[in-house]
């Protein structure tokens, strides 16, 4: 079926089976390979993107449900020469190891902070459920805290 939606601010149309998960449309039809595949069952978060501003796991969202939606991927989070504060914090805290989970991690964190700029430790733990096999969690927490209002920016 043909679907029209907005991806990273651009109107796009794709033709794909109605049940094709958004993840594969992004990666294969639109060439946006920054969004990763980890499990295919909504269990790891590697495929996290924003749909209408909310974090979703693209591996389980059928493309048929997205007519007219607005989607943001890691490639569209910020211009490359003006990174998003979360990306800046991620570099400052040297968060990524292999980096494979980090597109999803950054999309999940940026969605959380957009609604709750100063989350408590409990809120972070409850909201950021992405898996990272390299074990970067301590730095993810540190980077999120460095972004809290009054924390002195991302240089901590």
């Amino acid at each position: 079926m043909a679907i029209s939606f907005v991806v990273n601010g651009e109107a796009r149309s794709v033709d794909a089976d109605a049940d094709t998960p958004l993840l594969w449309v992004l990666r294969e039809n639109l060439g946006l390979t920054g969004t990763k595949f980890g499990c295919g069952i909504s269990a790891c978060g590697a495929c996290t993107v924003h749909v209408n501003g909310a974090p979703v796991r693209a591996c389980v969202v059928p493309i048929a449900t997205l007519q007219g939606a607005s989607i943001t991927t890691i490639e569209g989070l910020a211009p490359q020469d003006a990174p998003h504060p979360v990306q800046i914090a991620w570099i400052a805290q040297q968060v990524p190891q292999c980096g494979y989970c980090q597109s999803g991690m950054i999309m999940a964190v940026s969605a959380l902070l957009a609604h709750n700029p100063n989350p408590s430790d409990e809120e972070i733990a409850a909201q950021i459920t992405n898996l990272c096999r390299c074990g970067t969690y301590e730095r993810v927490r540190r980077a999120i805290r460095s972004l809290a209002p009054g924390a002195g920016g991302s240089h901590g």
Binding site: T20, F37, G40, I41, I91, C98, G99, I106, L131, G135
Partner: protein
């Protein structure tokens, strides 16, 4: 690239763009350095390191190791740049292509001497080289990159290039070379005020003979090493531009996925393909020996079609095996009278009967999957008798050989493009390249169309090369004061001896091995045998301390004897963790000390057992002595990551076998630690100046015993089997 010579270092002039290009030949370098080896014969020498300085002042270091998040590209470049005295912002890193010229025999040098007596060590270089040449190693594993390639290759290349640049400047200015110094990519002659950049001198330097014994800086002169420079690979990993194997795109490429025989050793017997071949987008169903692949115009269509197949597989006679039978077979072997000996000191096990007190225990650990976040995948293209492959591996050279064999062509007809790895942990080491073999065979079947093979997570978890399930028995003899005198262990897996020797002193010791393996595929898993033996040894040592009614830290310190590095690490960890200070009800501390890959790590875990018997690890304090720390922040990240990796295994990790096949299939039944369960981690380094140890793996082994020991401190229950959470709830011990 110039003619090979038998020199240790090669300077290659006349390259496109000019400048200085310097290479180090391992075979020639080793004899010059050690002065004992015969010169190499023929043109087969291997270069491990290339360094290039362009007229524009750019310094490029070619690194023969893959980047899997351990920061190795950065650390190795730091070692070269330090000796070169380069301006760090002008240093670039590139991964060496998968060609034999880049094989890294230094890895073996760093890894193997651990196992050989020092006297043999000198003669060992040559054997090491032979082995490496023969295997064609370009491997990243064993925490060896910085220790091997860095120490023997990068450092020498940097120092030699600096000497040549200084010499070139001295000739140009007609001044003595000893009066010239290199600083931040410039050579200066302070008495005359002359100065020139490396780039300005590079062409002249390239015409000089490289020094065979370049002088190294003393550590007190280090300006780059020992600082936390930012990793060069990180920016691309925060904006989606890093290209992993999964992200490779070729024009006209198709997508494939496989279903392999669920029972290891099984073969494809029959599969009806007509209905699936008629599904939308499906291009082909390819029958392989052990699997069936579906090729389609997209992964989703390939996956749906592969699920619609009803392939029949044989089971190789293993269709009734389960985990209980596998453990039982090992336990039975341990009870038998025939075993190998991996080590004996003093009177060995015979002295047990004289002990004032004996302690015995049996431990076991299950199979574990690597579960790299990036599932196995490879892209292959066969056309005109040549094959190109794109995949992330820890050893592109041997992956290239696998691809050549699968394609039925010579290795030099294969170009292997190694990609950044979405996790390695041992899953992408030699001997485990089934996904590459499959991709090439599929590409051959549909040639000349390129194909990307992607395994589903289910396929990935059920066709791993697993960390071995393992039963071990321990006996100790204590004297009247409770001091350990005799240590006897009997474990499965003959190659595990190195990890089985505790760091403590015993009058008598015996290590016994049996070698019983099921049909389940086994492989290296981050920290290899140290992950199992670390848990066993440090848990049993805790048992001995409690049997002697002594404090676990004090007991270990007393048993260490003269081992100043180990003592310092343990004492510091205890002190930083507040060992012995009061804790809230329901909480306890556990400690463990393991040396692996030349690095000594002590970890103290503070653990709570909640009212519903959930294990909550609040804090881990790690103290690490790796001799030197090349990049403290990256090193700390490796220890932090190792603790999380080890904690997943300690708390939840288990692959179980039923009807010959793996029961777990995805992260719902093979859970990984999440941020919510991830402890606060403090990492502290001791810079003892000992030879540089590894960093990628040594953080893993101590965490399971530290947590198990803490659980004992809280509950009085000794958990002798992993994973701890399930065993705590089941009441087994």
């Amino acid at each position: 690239m110039g003619k090979w010579t038998r020199r240790a270092l090669l300077s290659v002039g006349g390259v496109v763009g000019g400048g200085l290009v310097l290479g180090i030949s391992e075979i020639a370098f080793a004899p010059n350095r050690l002065g004992i080896l015969p010169p190499p014969s023929g043109d087969g020498a291997m270069l491990t390191v290339w360094l290039r300085i362009t007229p524009e002042d750019a310094v490029t270091v070619l690194v023969p190791h893959c980047e899997m998040g351990q920061g190795v590209h950065t650390a190795l470049a730091m070692m070269a740049a330090e000796e070169l005295d380069a301006e760090w912002s002008q240093v670039h890193v590139q991964e060496a292509p998968a060609e034999p010229a880049f094989a890294n025999a230094h890895v073996l040098r760093a890894f193997l001497p651990l196992e050989i007596p020092p006297l043999l060590g000198r003669g060992f270089d040559y054997a090491t080289f032979k082995v490496a040449q023969w295997v064609g190693l370009q491997v990243t594993g064993g925490s060896s990159s910085v220790r091997g390639t860095g120490h023997h290759g990068m450092q020498v290349a940097g120092a030699a290039a600096r000497a040549m640049l200084i010499q070139a400047a001295a000739v140009r200015w007609q001044v003595p070379a000893e009066q010239c110094i290199a600083r931040r990519s410039r050579v200066l002659h302070e008495p005359s005020g002359h100065a020139a950049s490396f780039g300005e001198l590079a062409d002249e330097a390239s015409r000089l003979a490289p020094p065979v014994h370049p002088a190294f800086k003393s550590p007190s002169q280090y300006r780059i090493r020992g600082t936390s420079v930012q990793r060069v690979d990180i920016p691309a990993k925060v904006n989606g531009t890093a290209r992993y194997g999964l992200d490779v795109v070729l024009p006209g490429m198709l997508y494939a996925t496989v279903r392999a025989a669920p029972v290891f050793g099984g073969k494809l017997a029959a599969v009806e393909t007509a209905a699936v071949e008629a599904m939308p987008g499906v291009k082909s169903v390819v029958k392989l020996e052990e699997a069936v692949a579906v090729v389609a115009d997209g992964y989703w269509r390939a996956l749906k079609a592969s699920r619609a197949l009803q392939p029949q597989f044989t089971d190789g006679g293993h269709g009734e095996v389960d985990s209980a039978a596998i453990f039982a077979a090992q336990a039975e072997a341990l009870s038998g009278q025939s075993f190998g000996k991996a080590g004996k000191e003093g009177a060995g096990a015979a002295s047990l009967e004289h002990a004032a007190r004996q302690v015995e225990a049996e431990y076991r650990v299950p199979y574990l999957a690597h579960a790299t976040m990036e599932p196995m995948n490879a892209t292959a293209h066969i056309v005109d008798g040549r094959c190109e492959v794109w995949a992330g591996t820890q050893d592109p050279l041997s992956a290239r050989k696998v691809a050549a064999k699968a394609a039925g062509i010579a290795p030099d007809k294969v170009t292997f493009h190694n990609q950044p790895l979405g996790g390695g942990f041992g899953r992408r080491l030699p001997g485990t390249f089934d996904y590459i073999e499959q991709a090439v065979k599929i590409a051959k079947a549909i040639a000349p169309t390129p194909v990307k093979l992607i395994w589903s997570r289910e396929e990935d978890l059920q066709h791993d090369y697993y960390r071995a399930a393992f039963v071990a028995r321990f006996q100790a003899g204590l004297d009247a004061e409770g001091r350990p005198q005799t240590w006897v262990s009997h474990f499965n897996g003959a190659s595990e001896a190195l990890a089985a020797r505790p760091p403590y002193q015993f009058k008598d010791l015996e290590l016994r091995t049996t070698d019983v393996h099921a049909h389940v595929r086994e492989g290296s898993w981050r920290s290899v045998a140290f992950s199992q033996q670390g848990f066993f040894i440090e848990s049993f040592m805790d048992e001995l301390a409690h049997a002697a009614q002594q404090d676990p830290v004090g007991y270990r310190l007393a048993a260490l004897g003269h081992a100043p590095r180990h003592r310092a690490v343990l004492e510091k960890a205890a002190q930083l963790a507040g060992w012995g200070t009061p804790l809230p009800a329901g909480q306890g501390r556990g400690v463990a000390l393991v040396e692996a890959f030349g690095t000594i790590v002590a970890e103290v875990a503070r653990v709570e057992i909640t009212a519903d018997r959930q294990i909550k690890v609040h804090q881990v304090t790690a103290v690490v002595d790796s001799g030197e720390v090349v990049n403290p922040d990256t090193a700390a990240a490796q220890i932090e990551g190792g603790i999380v990796f080890g904690l997943t295994a300690a708390l939840y990790g288990q692959i179980t076998i039923d009807k010959g096949r793996v029961q777990q299939s995805n992260f719902h039944d093979y859970p990984l630690l999440k941020l919510a369960d991830s402890p606060r981690v403090t990492v502290e380094f001791i810079r003892s100046g000992a030879p540089l140890g590894g960093m990628g793996e040594p953080g893993v082994p101590p965490i399971a015993p530290a947590v198990a020991n803490a659980i004992f401190a809280v509950t009085g229950r000794r958990l002798r089997e992993l994973p701890l959470q399930a065993n705590l709830l089941s009441g087994k011990s």
